[in-house]
Structures are given as C-alpha cells and as structure tokens.
Symmetry: C2
Subunit: 379 residues, 2 copies
Amino acid sequence: MENTLGVKVPPLSVPDRLLLGPGPSNSHPLVLQALANQPVGHLDPFYIDLMAEVQVLLRNIWQTNNRLTLPMSGTGSAAMEATIANIVEPGDIFLVGIKGYFGSRLADMASRYKAEVKTISKSWGDAFTLLELEEALIKYKPAVLALVHAETSTGVCQPIEGVGELCRKYNCLLILDTVTSLGSVPLHLDKWKVDLAYSCSQKGLSCPPGLGPFTMNERAEDKLNRREGKVPNWYLDVSLLNKYWGSDRVYHHTAPVNMNFGIRESLRLIVEEGLENSWKRHQDNAELLWSGLENLGIEMHVKKEYRLPTLTTVKIPEGINGKTFTLHLLNEFGVEIGGGLGELAGKVWRIGLMGYNSKKENVEKILNLFDTELSKFKA
Amino acid sequence: MENTLGVKVPPLSVPDRLLLGPGPSNSHPLVLQALANQPVGHLDPFYIDLMAEVQVLLRNIWQTNNRLTLPMSGTGSAAMEATIANIVEPGDIFLVGIKGYFGSRLADMASRYKAEVKTISKSWGDAFTLLELEEALIKYKPAVLALVHAETSTGVCQPIEGVGELCRKYNCLLILDTVTSLGSVPLHLDKWKVDLAYSCSQKGLSCPPGLGPFTMNERAEDKLNRREGKVPNWYLDVSLLNKYWGSDRVYHHTAPVNMNFGIRESLRLIVEEGLENSWKRHQDNAELLWSGLENLGIEMHVKKEYRLPTLTTVKIPEGINGKTFTLHLLNEFGVEIGGGLGELAGKVWRIGLMGYNSKKENVEKILNLFDTELSKFKA
C-alpha cells in the first residue's frame, strides 16, 4: 500500500527483543493483555473506580499516604517536570545534586520555571554524603532540593535516609527521582520525609512507557496553594488534576485509559508478589549478575555499596568498540543492552534487570553472551 | 488479595462498552493488537523506522508537508499546549475565537505563557464568519489566532477556507484545533495555510487516548527560532523533540513505544481505506443519524451547514433528565453517549460517530435505543 506522500507502510510486525538496557524493560504479559482491552470512557463509573485503585496501589508501592498520588498522562520526564512546575515560583532557589545525566535535566527544567538554580556535583559513579548535602543546604538556603535516587545514567543508588530530616531542618522541600527504583528498590517516601517524587511505568513496573507516577505531600501542597498566579503549565497543573483525580471528578483531559489499565495490572502484580519480595528478587538477580561478570574478568563502574540492583554500569574492556558490540547483541540475538550516556558515553555499557526482566534466566543469558561473544571483538 | 493499605484489587476485568460519546471512541481491533506487542527500545533501529512511518502517515492525513509533524507523548491537551508553549512569547497578542469549551481552554493556556489574550465569541452552536474574523484581526493585531475546527462541546465545524489567507494578510500565525476532525472530516492544512495544528488519538484515528498529533510549518518554526530564551516547557519543547524525531535521534524522553505502535496502525488503516473514503463514510453515517433522529421527532442543536459529522449535539426533550437517560443506556446496554459540557450542560446529549465506530450498525443501534428507551423517561 502506498500513500499519497509515497511511502509504503505494511501492517505492523514488531521484532522480538529482550530488553536488558536502561529501559524500557519488557512488560508483564498480563499488562500487555490489559492494554489490549477496548477503552472505556474517562468518566465511566468503572474507570473512576479504576483510578482510585491505581492511586491506592501507587501509594502502597511508594510507601506513602500522600493524597495527591497519581500517574501523570505522559512519560517519566513529564512527571519530573510536574514536580517542578507545580511548586517552583520565579526566584526560588532550587538546589540540584548532579551526579549524572538526570540531575542536569532537573536543573534545565527548573531554569525554565525561572528558579535560581544552584548545583552541587559528584563524579558520575559516586553519591553524595549527608555531610555534603547539609553543607550545601547551609550555603545555598534553597527552597527545594532535588536528588536522583536511582541514576539511570551511572547505576548509582543515592542513599536517602536522613536527607528528609535535613530538608526539614533547613526548611526546604525534597524532590526525589525514583524513575529506576519504584517497585524494584527499597523506597519509603513517608518514612524518609520525601516531599515530592516521580517515576515511570516502563522499568520496575513492567508496563510499557507512557505514564509518569507522581506524588506530593501536604508540605508540597502548601507551597502550591501559596503560589501567586496559576501554575505556568496547564497539562501538569496538579490543582486542576486534583479536581479529576479527587472526589469532584471534573473533566481535565481525556485520560490515557488503556495505559491506566496497564499500570493498574502492573502495580497489582507487584503487590501480589509482595513489595519486599520484589525488592529482594531485584537485589538477588543483580548480585548474580555482578559476580558472574567478575568471574568473566569484567569490571563494574560503581563500587558495590552504591550499586543499583536495577541498572549496572559495566566498564567496556580496552580495545572493544562498545557500540559495535551492542549492535551485535541486538542484531544477532535480539538482546538490547545500553551504551553510556553523557560523560560515560563510550566508557560503559548499561545492563538493566528491571521488573519482569529481573530473573535468573536473563542473568544467565546475558552472562553467556558476554562469555561467548565479547572475545570475538577483542583486538 | 489485600495490600497493606487495605484495598482489595482483583485482576482486571473491563466491561464492554460501545463508545458513542464525545470520545474516546472504540479502537480498531488491529490497533489494540498492535498495543499488545512487547515494547522495543526507543532508540532501536526498528523503532526509529517506525517513527518515520508515523510522521509520513500523519502528514498524509493532515494533508501537509510540514517537517515538524509528530505525535506528542501525551493526550490532545498536551499537543494543544505544545502549539502555544513553543511559539508564544510574553506579551504576544493571542486572539482566540471562543464558541465552546475548548476555545476557553486555549485562552487559559495562552495566559499561562504570559500572552496578552484577546477573545471574540459566538454562541455555543454557531461558527465565525470570515468577516467577523477579519474585523477581529484588524482590531487586535494579534501575533496568533487560535480557532477550533471541530468543537467537541457544541458539534460545530468551523469553516476554515480563507482564514489562513487572512492571517497572512494581517501577519499572524494560525493555530487550528483538529481534535475531533483528524482522519474523519476534510482537512487540508497546507492548502488552508494553517501554521500549527494538533489532535488526539482516540477519536477519528480509532486508537486509545494517549498521543497528541502535532504539526507546525516553517512560518511557525521561524517564530520559535526567533524567541528569546528557552521554551518555558521542557517536555513539549519542539526544539528538543526535533533532535529526537529529526535526523539526529538524540534522546529526549523515553517514547511511549506501544502507543506509537497503536497510532502507526490506526494511521495506516485510514490510508488503506483511503482518506477521502473515510471522510465520506463519516458524513454518510452522520446524515443517517440526523435523518433518523428527525424521524423520531428529536431536534439537533446545530444548523445543518455547521454540523460536525463526528459529533452531534441533540436537544434533550423537555421533561427528560439527560443524565438519568445516559446512565440508563450505559448500565442497561453498555452504550455511552455524552452529556453537555459548560453552557450546554443539561441541555444536550452528545452523540459521537468517530473512526471505527462510524458505521451503519451503530447508527441503527443508537436510533433504536432512542426509539424504545426514551419514551420510558417521559413525564
């Protein structure tokens, strides 16, 4: 079939991929089945009930009682922007801890909302200490501190215990990026006194990309309620969204109904497995990967205490072209692993074991491929 | 299964609905099948090719050659906001023609981007004449004129021929809302000299909600390129998105891969049917609905020359509670029709015949229900 602009488009045929990169990860088959339901109306009583279920499940998996907990109708980056758009006012001092790609993104976004952005940095592969964070809070007196819990670009898990207390001591809000940790790495938002957090659907949740879980507590709501003028972003305005997701059910935008069918199943499946069981599974499989890689003489980029179970950065051995090897795995075996991003481009591969894909057989498969295929690329 | 927050969530079971309201409409079964594929990576060579296909198909269905044509990773409202966020600068005069709910939304959004918003209005059910638009262009000298082609709240199709010429004569950009017309109502963006347009996935395209087709031409790009400072919305920033959707393929956000599988199929199916055949099918089925309703003594809200084929507003007969009747159709027959929005709340029902649902058997079904059920609700 040829359309009038002259391009042939045959019916869709999607290649099989095992997604062991930085995300998306593969989806749970029941999630895909949920997506394939015919949609219902976004004000259908059935859908209204489903929204409430999604909220309860999300609160559970984030370990929070925040009323304002909902999936933004966009990807994780939209949810990231929602945390900033709603609470940042022009001139607010916005402190970002940058130790990878996504810290820089937070800084870029905050500058667009006219925050006075301040940054502290660590090398890509390291994490901040509580002392470093406290010194920065004292120095910059920010209204908001933003940190990335699980840096997808470096494979580092930033310890968060104690940070929330510091933020309250120095009277600032804490935004936490949990894109690569929700559902798969221990997270206790309320216990840790995190004020706003966001995530994505396509990693620990085993759902396709397209939704951005978002949550904010009453301290953050207070700042939103005190702001002068409207939120400068209509689509992500929580004061409007709250009228749809809250008890009023006032139409805001037509919800991505099928994606919400999907995330509802993905969250339910985590609760069915048990949240702590899911965390343990991710840790166990990551350790299996790490010891297997070490046995092959391959080095990890991050020291063990800071390593994320969901995303491992692996040093590309000398003499190997990282890109050639990832293309080989994709084209010959249908296995995707990621290359390095930003400072780590060309230096590391990124291996993801997230959600549905965090299982022993996948660890064995990728170890086996490193064992048999990597030697073919050595000079 | 009970989670720790105390709510039982059983496996998903979605009720069957025939969606004959203002949208979402039902999806084509092949689109749902496409959605249920396992995702691939957003930088996978297969996906990069698919993105190009989606762009070519979208250009075809909008009848435009605009390079910057892509689905925003959000719903139609996100795409609406994208047209504004990218080209509006503080102080720009932004003229909106308001003749229904969605005109007001455009005005609200533009004000958040610090435009000086001016409005002209017609009653809900009417359309603007070329003369009225020209007078407003002379009076307000706007940088941008925004109009809704197909007003989902009123069922009016705004004639657009000649408006683009006026906008060029008076040196302003034309934004057109085609949310309820793309794929189903004649649209000739380039011929009509429309500078920016947006739509949604869940109406004429027979895909679930979740993507917002967006397009802008070189005149609009020029304004974007001339702006001082960054676009004040990161997620919808076309200058960043262009690096991913253009030839550079620089990572911006993780694309909603499965939704793009879906829209690719939905666009392909329209091209397979033939764009003009799709337009004719919608017109034919709408006329069947209109004459059938007239035969039942039911009046339409909009005069025939302005009526949208995709969405018909029907006057609620005196003595009938509109909401009770729609709930009866939903609960007893699984058929959704819409109530009135804004000024028309309580006064009209909204019957949609969009995309996959625009077929003779659905017209017969809804006419039959009006025939047999409505009398039960008469006082």
